[in-house]
Point group: D2
Chain length 242, copies 4
């Protein structure tokens, strides 16, 4: 197996994850960690259709055992392959009046945005630190949302998880930036144009965010030299109110 | 037992918790939830020495069973007593290079600042919603820190917990503010003047935050009428660099 | 003339300025700087009706000559009176599509929120630095607005002015906090309950901010000891969406 | 003269302005507005050396007459050329203890960051609104600094100016984003690697921001489609403390 560098993407599906995988697969072997095998297949197919290679490992990032197993598999399958980039793009969602939010909901969201993001960082950063000889600085990108910077009514649990991820990304950016690893956080503020939002009745053209455009910006972040790292940027459609 | 209103304070000790307890005990019966019985006694003594009444319940706020038991006890012990105020002032602390931060450390911090703050809110908000007839709007205050707004290197886990608490407080402020409950978050930015920091060699006079001054500001927040709620304020000593 | 300490308030009228004047007049001689003499009279009357003393000086704070003359007058009229507090509460307002905003509008807003705030600070800070022997730390408070932290469409000029004031207040808080002067900034986020907004058809009770409540919070800021200064807080009615 | 689209850059010199000019000149005719003719020449030379074309107009952006004259000249010289991009990159600087900051210093900084940014926006936005047929959405980028988001002691005037510019950019992003014009603000946080900072004794390699890297990120912002606009991002060297 080649030692082409790897891009490890946690969180796939038919939207942002797929576009990021396809974009990074132009340069790297893509590894996809996603809970449901069913969500891995379309991403692998899309990557291969565009001439790249991707390999999926069904993984629950919020489980220490599951994610550790996944990274052990990566080590075995790709010995000698450096990791050029890692993207934490795992979805979670909770919208409910606070008093109707069960502890299980809280734990699920924080299990992904908190523990999952923590474990993913713990496992990818050592790989990234070992990849400073590659063309671009090794990069770890977290996908955030409107709720990463604003906690709205009925979104307390969801926002708590997203703020935790954002804090993590900022602390890591400072600690590992100085060591040459580029850590970024993107605030995706708007509806993403995926199959699941196709029927959403939006008045304006181009009012939903193109996942390919998100992927292009993630790629740009990855190519920034260490003299000019961006920690955070926002991405929103031109018509979004904010 | 009287039906004097209650102030429920999670997190006690010899610093901020003690001062808040003493300040709110001028008007209310104070209930102290603190993990260690040893940390409850000095607070109860201090409150009683200043003419108030306080009652402590050893509680692990991060445990659903423990905190539920504590609130059941409050219900039994103070039937008919409305809850005028609740303060989440529970400490947690973690400072370590990220790669040396164990999952247990992460879980401990998020267990307190995340799950603990969530459970405390779930249990106090229904009590506060039932107390709108009292002199001041029922109030829920969260104690934050520098790390609530800034994630520094070596503080990723601690900051993730504090950001989660802050997000929770903002979501609750919006959701329950509209229902007449005042939710606030105080960013305590500096060293607090407690026995444990006595020996810290600080050059300037008054360079550490007086916990009594924090308590006075919390009391002011509590007295704000619903036409003029403050969600967030910062508190720091005059010499603090920020 | 007595050497009772002074509170110098720039910006008066029938709303916040009047309430602040009345609140601070309980302890200090109040000086009111306001552009229009007509806006001074009701404030002086209100202060006197509640047993205080106030003196108004018609002043255009955006004019170096006018504001310098005003402070010269204060020096002559109140020799030996220390200045305990200063409040910059001057209104400005601009809402217009950007391309219809004339340079004169921009200059008017920035003349008040920029130059006016700068000149007021330059003239009050030396007085405040000389007042550290008083009961409370000498205090300089700036009244901000929603637009101090958020620039909305059609509010570019107004927001630019308010952000400039807020930046000024933060820089001053750091520079003069260390010298014992308390500098604060209050983000007033909502409609204030003044005669001019009486007819505004609001559905909920208490949905407008009580100017007296703002004044109480300003007074609390003033009483904070130097171990526990607040730079910024927000004030909004419980029903406000944010 | 061709009707190749224009990129209008206010603020040139040997650093960021030069790199931006060279980068945008790969696609557009570059117009440089800069106060000093001496600062225009090296930029024009650098652009031409890399195969592009640039034209400089000595302009004081803080003067309505001067900047209006400059845009009239552009209209005459490039009839029919659409404007694809505009960059406000004008420097200003002030560091002084507040009480030693003269009104002239304040006016100079606010004249550039306030009035200058306002006038430049007023004159470029109509041109950008007329350019929506080009390959990329018409773009207006403002260069910010650390002081755009943080006002430090001794930087009150400088920060007031930078915050005003940032507010302006946010209001414009909302108002004209909806009309298809992309408005961005870049927070440049660190020392830029220009001839003037060559001798600065920095310990780490690559510790100063490469102006070419800034230019590459500005170009990326320009290429973002309207479904995915970034308003703000930060750029800092990997070793920067923040």
């Amino acid at each position: 197996m080649s030692t082409k560098p790897l891009a490890i993407i946690a969180g796939a599906g038919t939207g942002t994850g797929l576009s990021i995988a396809r974009r990074f697969a132009r340069a790297y072997n893509v590894i996809i960690l996603s809970r449901s095998p069913a969500s891995i297949d379309p991403v692998v197919s899309a990557v291969e259709a565009s001439g790249g290679t991707a390999f999926g490992i069904p993984t629950d990032v919020s489980s220490e055992a599951s994610i550790t197993t996944a990274f052990n598999a990566i080590r075995v399958l790709y010995p000698g392959s450096p990791t050029a980039a890692a993207v934490f793009n795992v979805g979670s969602w909770n919208r409910a009046p606070f008093l109707e939010t069960a502890l299980e909901d809280w734990e699920r969201v924080l299990g992904i945005q908190g523990r999952g993001a923590f474990l993913f960082s713990k496992l990818t950063i050592p790989l990234l630190l070992a990849s400073k000889h590659l063309e671009y600085p090794p990069t770890l990108i977290f996908t955030g949302a409107t709720a990463s910077v604003k906690a709205s009514a009925n979104f307390s649990a969801f926002a708590a998880g997203k703020w935790a991820t954002r804090a993590l990304s900022q602390g890591l950016a400072k600690e590992f930036g100085a060591q040459g690893v580029h850590v970024s956080h993107a605030v995706i503020d708007g509806i993403i144009d995926v199959p699941g939002t196709k029927e959403w009745n939006l008045d304006a053209e181009d009012a939903k965010i193109s996942p390919d455009a998100i992927a292009d910006t993630y790629w740009h972040l990855h190519t920034q030299p260490r003299t000019a790292f961006t920690w955070e940027l926002d991405i929103r459609p031109y018509v979004e109110k904010w």
